[in-house]
């Protein structure tokens, strides 16, 4: 058990900077999910923690121990690979016991005991004498988890372990990994490109892009208070509605459409910026049938709808503006071609600087109601 501290870690490959000045700490027993688009440097960062890459600059510490120059095999870190990386010439038992057998000081009995114990925990004890080629994808996944945890490592690294599994199995393994992690109370870093997996599994999420950590926080924080435009777009499905707008102290935020259409949101921001990007998740867009008058409302036809089981999404394509997606219950009677009015709930609006994309804190009027259940903070 130990914390993992990354101290201004940078990793460069020739011309490419894969990890750029990453600086944060992973707490003891925490499950941190590193999430980001492919090529953002998350796997490199994970491999740096595991010791398979040496940082160009900065330090990695495990607990009180500075391990920057310690080779992977002496770090006491376990790693689960996307490809599972099971040794094809060994049985399940031999694979799971491999890491134990590499330590010279363990007796055969003890190794056997721990392998069986681990296999029971993962519910694979009846597979122990099978060959790797006889296993299904999910079984391989369990074996590779088993090989990682059998040594009781100080930290546990998972490199997109669910990417090779089919959807149903993935949901099941998500739950299982979290349960295993809580039970072992082991500091864990889980890498994924799948934002919904990150939200489901993580105690905290670290969003990465272009080698830099964009935001670290618990899933709610990242979802409800994205630190910049990139995160706002990356987290949440379907993605947040983002529209360019003008801000003034007096009226708040105004979104200009074509033919003089103007959508006003009664929100002011502290900084006197005039050009901003305003974002609102489909869940937080308020919708009414027909035409509703008032400068806060935008009226348009539903261009098309998308059915998603419990929910339904309405797509508006107002002239001169970007597409607006609205979330409604799937049993509501909005149909393609209906005339609807929408407004952005002021308490749920995100404002970003138009140039830097950084979040700007908004002053919400006291009487502004929240459209959905309030967020616990």
């Amino acid at each position: 058990m130990s914390t993992i501290r990354l101290d201004h870690v940078t990793k460069r490959f020739a011309e490419v900077t894969a990890v750029d000045d990453v600086h944060f700490e992973i707490e003891d027993g925490e499950l941190l999910v590193l999430v980001g688009p492919s090529g953002c440097g998350k796997t490199t960062l994970l491999r740096t923690i595991a010791g398979l890459e040496t940082p160009t600059e900065g330090d990695v510490s495990l607990g009180d121990r500075r391990v920057t120059d310690v080779p992977a095999r002496k770090r006491d870190v376990a790693l689960v690979f996307q490809s599972f990386a099971l040794f094809p010439h060994m049985t399940v038992r031999e694979n799971i016991s491999f890491n134990l057998r590499m330590q010279d000081n363990l007796a055969g009995d003890e190794i056997d005991e721990r392998v069986v114990e681990t296999a029971e925990m993962l519910d694979i004890e009846e597979l122990l004498d099978r060959a790797i080629s006889e296993l299904s994808g999910g079984q391989k996944q369990r074996v590779s988890l088993g090989r990682a945890i059998v040594t009781n490592p100080a930290a546990f690294m998972l490199d997109e372990p669910l990417a090779n599994l089919d959807a149903n199995l993935r949901d099941q393994m998500e739950t299982e990994i979290v349960r295993l992690q809580k039970r072992l109370d082991i500091t864990t870093v889980h890498v994924t490109h799948n934002q919904s997996e990150a939200m489901t599994m993580g105690d905290r999420i670290a969003v990465m892009n272009d080698g830099q950590i964009q935001q670290i926080g618990d899933p709610e924080e990242v979802f409800y208070e994205p630190a910049n435009r990139f995160i706002a777009e990356f987290i949440g499905s379907p993605t947040m509605n983002l529209l360019s707008a003008t801000h003034s102290r007096g009226t708040g935020i105004e979104i200009d459409g074509a033919d003089g259409h103007m959508l006003t949101i009664p929100v002011t921001v502290t900084a006197p910026r005039s050009r901003v990007t305003v974002g609102c998740r489909p869940e937080h867009v308020v919708v009414e049938h027909g035409r509703v008058s008032g400068s806060e409302w935008l009226t348009d036809e539903v261009a098309f709808t998308e059915f998603h089981g419990a929910s339904k999404y309405l797509f508006l394509e107002p002239e001169g503006l970007d597409q607006i997606v609205v979330h409604v219950d799937s049993n509501s009677d909005y149909e393609q071609g209906d005339l609807v009015s929408v407004r952005f709930s002021p308490a749920e609006v995100h404002v970003f600087d138009a140039e830097s994309g950084q979040r700007i804190e908004a002053d919400v009027p006291d009487d502004a109601e929240r459209s959905s259940e309030p967020v616990e903070r």
């Binding site: 595991a50 010791g51 398979l52 080779p71 992977a72 095999r73 002496k74 770090r75 870190v77 376990a78 790693l79 690979f81 490809s83 990386a85 099971l86 040794f87 094809p88 010439h89 060994m90 491999f98 890491n99 057998r101 590499m102 330590q103 090989r147 040594t151 690294m157």
Partner: protein
């Protein structure tokens, strides 16, 4: 490509694009084109059959006749007489013993050194440039003709002016072996030469084997706490097993047939101390002119080849391991 079966159709089935009948030359072109796969592989098979298979069958037939080089048409059927002669001749067993020592030592040396060097060159721990330099120097012997191999090692092992003995004297061995002039050491000299020539093949063969091992398996071993030597022993070597088996089979087959270098270096001497089956057969045919008996020796050599392959496959457990 499993696109169509049209190459099985006949001339008359083929119509033009719009269903119109085609001209004669068009039809001929189509007919050839539709049989192209077989036309493409035919020449290789003609060559293999004409220059390898047919002569081999003929060799078997020749082994049952008495034929001398002076008059090839004068053949007398003698049945298995040649085989009886060979197998009852104590000299043949001396040759077989030499062959066993030569092939055994060469194969073990070659495959072991080749595999070791391939593992050392793998995974660029030295940097690409240095690795490329070493690899080039290891492969050089492969590009050398048997004649130069034979002479350069004759020079190296020369008891008086040779570098090897000069080195041994430097190490404090006052009377180093006379190598190819010595009954005890001549075979050792021939083996050292053959390993020199044959190792590049094993090296390259094992290099391709190493490339089939996924990088993540090494990483898994590394993260799992295995040291370099443990990784080689528990991961690399077991995964190389099928390649080592295949390499052993191929090198054994090659080595049974090696005699050019020996012909150049010792001519089989001194007193037949380095005479092996292949060389004996060549001398039987072209020095003594006894084609019939030489053919019988060739058939026996083929028999040993087959036995060797069978032995390896049994020892390593099945053909599946090899492919």
């Amino acid at each position: 490509m499993s696109d169509d079966q049209s190459y099985l159709s006949t001339l008359d089935d083929i119509a033009g694009p719009e269903g119109q009948p085609m001209s004669r030359s068009e039809r001929l072109y189509e007919a050839v084109d539709s049989r192209l796969p077989y036309i493409m592989i035919a020449p290789v098979f003609l060559m293999v059959i004409g220059l390898i298979l047919y002569p081999a069958v003929w060799a078997f037939k020749l082994s049952l006749y008495e034929t001398q080089i002076v008059n090839l048409d004068d053949q007398t059927f003698v049945g298995l007489q040649h085989y009886v002669d060979i197998l009852t001749d104590p000299f043949f067993y001396k040759i077989m013993k030499n062959s066993a020592v030569f092939v055994g030592a060469s194969v073990i040396g070659q495959v072991a050194i080749g595999t070791a060097l391939a593992i050392l060159l793998d995974r660029s721990w030295l940097g690409d440039r240095i690795a490329r330099f070493f690899r080039a120097s290891y492969i050089l012997p492969w590009a050398t003709t048997a004649v130069i191999v034979g002479y350069s090692w004759t020079f190296m092992l020369n008891p008086r002016v040779g570098l090897v003995n000069e080195f041994l004297r430097f190490l404090g061995w006052a009377n180093p072996p006379a190598w190819i002039n010595s009954l005890e050491w001549a075979m050792a000299g021939v083996v050292i030469m053959n390993i020199w020539r044959g190792t590049p093949f094993s090296l390259i063969f094992q290099t391709s084997g190493l490339q089939s091992i996924q990088e993540t398996l090494y990483e898994a071993a590394n993260v799992g706490g295995a040291s370099t030597l443990q990784t080689v022993r528990h991961v690399t070597l077991p995964l190389l097993r099928p390649f080592i088996l295949m390499n052993l089979i191929l090198v054994t087959l090659f080595t049974f047939n090696v005699f050019g270098m020996i012909l150049v270096m010792t001519g089989g001497g001194p007193l037949n101390a380095t005479n092996v089956l292949a060389l004996y057969m060549y001398e039987m045919a072209f020095d003594l002119g006894n084609f019939g008996k030489a053919s019988a020796l060739a058939v026996l050599l083929f028999g040993f080849n087959v036995l060797t392959v069978a032995f390896y496959l049994k020892a390593f457990g099945g053909i599946k391991q090899a492919v």
